[in-house]
């Protein structure tokens, strides 16, 4: 084989090599994933141990709430058994959280929700306290998110379940719309998350899950004092410059930061000029080609 003949085969071999590396990485990753079982979250207080009485009560609750008919008739909430079975709280009794229900029968659903949130703090003391100190707790009543807003009610996920954490970004974005879309549209972490990765930082990883505070508050995870160590959780060796990297760039399409705006305007001009000029040139060439072909065919035949 002459050297120039081997060339296309070398190209094809390179393409094959790339796909092989991709496949190898995929299988390596798939085998690595099984090795890390979720450790789950251990509450500060000792969780109540299930007693015979609890399961009796649960059976009683399930008599009404375990039947979808109750919700269809508008008489109350249906709690599917499957949802509880998948929950971190599957060993808790209903009344461990629904404190108000023990004794008084459910008359006031709004109060019940509030009580349920308060009951979380019975075991998850630190988290409850951190949330109580957050901006979310200070929001007007009924506006700020409480425990169940993010964790759900019955299908409570492990706190280190990355799928749960990544999905929670959508929850944050439902109020923080612009911050959320800037993150998912113009930030590497946000883009990778929206493409299905769960191992990159999302809202809760930088802003903290419970004690969410504005950057102006020194206690915030993103305050001038803390932001570098927050970045360094994933990026060891991060320095002050690294902490200055903007995460929510409003590139829609021109960012408000003047330096980034300049870079964007430069490219809009260059893109327009290049494709305008060369597009026009290309069309001229194609039209010329078309004319000469037609003439050539005409003279031939």
């Amino acid at each position: 084989m002459t050297p120039h003949r081997t060339f296309p085969y070398a190209g094809a071999a390179l393409l094959l090599l790339i796909s092989a590396i991709g496949l190898f990485l995929e299988s390596a990753q798939a085998s690595g994933q099984t090795a890390s079982p979720s450790t789950g979250f251990v509450p500060d207080a000792v969780p109540p141990s299930p007693s015979a009485n609890d399961s009796l009560v649960d059976t009683a609750c399930a008599e009404c709430h375990g039947d979808s008919a109750i919700q269809e008739k508008g008489e109350g909430f249906y709690v599917p058994a499957s949802e509880l079975a998948a929950s971190m709280h599957k060993d808790l009794a209903c009344i461990d959280c629904h404190l108000e229900t023990a004794g008084v029968l459910h008359k006031n659903p709004t109060a019940e929700r509030a009580t349920a949130d308060a009951s979380c703090g019975g075991c998850h003391t630190d988290q409850q306290a951190a949330w109580a100190a957050s901006s979310h707790a200070k929001a007007p009543a009924g506006k700020g998110p409480t425990c169940v807003t993010c964790h759900g009610n019955h299908a409570v996920q492990a706190a280190d379940n990355r799928t749960f954490i990544s999905d929670s970004a959508a929850m944050c974005s439902s109020c923080h719309t612009e911050r959320g879309s800037n993150f998912s549209d113009h930030n590497y972490h946000g883009k990778e998350t929206s493409l299905g990765r769960t191992d990159v930082a999302v809202c809760a990883d930088c802003h903290g899950p419970h004690q969410v505070l504005p950057a102006s508050d020194p206690a915030s995870t993103i305050s001038e004092r803390n932001v570098v160590s927050t970045c360094a959780k994933c990026h060891p060796g991060a320095n002050d410059n690294f902490g200055d990297i903007q995460i929510h760039v409003d590139a829609n399409p021109i960012p408000s930061d003047p330096k980034l705006a300049l870079a964007t305007v430069y490219f809009i001009v260059v893109l327009t000029a290049t494709f305008g000029l060369f597009g026009w040139h290309m069309i001229l060439g194609l039209k010329h080609e078309w004319r000469t072909r037609k003439t050539a065919v005409g003279s031939d035949g």
């Binding site: 003949r5 393409l15 990485l25 493409l195 410059n241 870079a263 490219f267």
Partner: protein, 294 residues
């Protein structure tokens, strides 16, 4: 090799004598182009779905590469191929300078631009519109020179911004935080510019011309038939025929089928990803325009 002549190739030797060929690219340059082509395709295929991560085709394309994490690894692997092509080019220039067989800069057949290119550009545009003769191009015409310089500049911009994002902790030892944000903007737009340029203007001007459709095989074989040189590079042709010993090689045109297959595959893949990216880009632009009127 008694091969059937492709219908579109106007001059295929019916006689037994092989066509006379003109050397255009060295083996080193062709290998460098190969690294560049494979690297760029890998980079575009794994990078565009990240740029347009919200588009309908981004997820499925990422899945094809084993998910966004693997796609990232492939992207960085192809970046290395891309850098290799750049280093090969620099090494080739240095080697050529040492061996003294490089085309001297600013000599007629150099790829570096000069005033003559402006004159020829104007003359060629007149010619394309039906006035006057086709200018007698040297070894490289003005748009090939632009193509080359755009590539060098692009490799520099996209390589540097890519390295900043690959190693943000190291980069921020010397650079302020906003430089990392700017790197994303540069990388993203320069990618669009490079992909757009390569997959439309370079493909159409270089490879999709009816004479060489679907690929200009000169980049694989390194040599070009003399009649093509005469037709397209009048100035170079005069120097070639004046000193055939220096410029010409005996031989035959290479196996068109294999090259057409490889080249054609690249073109189809390239146009597909370009089309998808254009759909997303236009959707984005229309969205921004509608936002203004809101």
């Amino acid at each position: 090799m008694s091969m059937e002549a492709p219908e579109i190739d106007p001059v295929e030797p019916a006689e037994a004598a092989p066509p006379t060929l003109v050397k255009r690219f060295t083996r080193w340059q062709r290998a460098s182009h190969g690294f560049l082509a494979v690297g760029v395709f890998g980079l575009v295929l794994t990078g565009m779905p990240l740029k347009y991560s919200a588009s309908f085709w981004a997820g499925p394309l990422m899945k094809l590469f084993g998910g966004p994490e693997n796609a990232g690894d492939i992207h960085r692997f192809c970046a290395i191929l891309f850098f290799i092509s750049g280093l090969m080019h620099v090494a080739g220039l240095i080697g050529g300078a040492i061996k003294r067989d490089i085309t001297p800069p600013f000599s007629p057949d150099s790829i570096l631009p000069g005033l003559v290119d402006i004159r020829q550009a104007i003359a060629n545009i007149r010619y394309l519109r039906g006035n006057g003769e086709r200018p007698k191009f040297a070894k490289f015409s003005y748009f090939e020179k632009f193509d080359y310089l755009a590539e060098v500049w692009g490799l520099f911009v996209i390589g540097l911004s890519g390295l900043i994002m690959w190693f943000p902790v190291i980069a921020s030892k010397w650079l302020p935080g906003w430089a990392v944000n700017a790197a994303l903007i540069f990388h993203s737009y320069e990618a669009l510019l490079a992909m757009g340029f390569l997959f439309t203007i370079h493909f159409i001007n270089t490879h999709l011309r009816p004479d060489v459709f679907p690929v200009d095989r000169v980049i694989f074989s390194g040599s070009m038939p003399l009649h093509e040189v005469k037709e397209r590079y009048g100035g170079w042709y005069e120097r070639v025929v004046a000193d055939p010993g220096r410029y010409m090689v005996a031989g035959k045109e290479n196996d068109a089928r294999a090259l057409n297959f490889v080249g054609g595959t690249f073109l189809i893949v390239g146009f597909t990803i370009f089309g998808l990216a254009m759909i997303s880009a236009l959707t984005e632009v229309i969205g921004y325009i509608l936002n203004v009127f809101k």
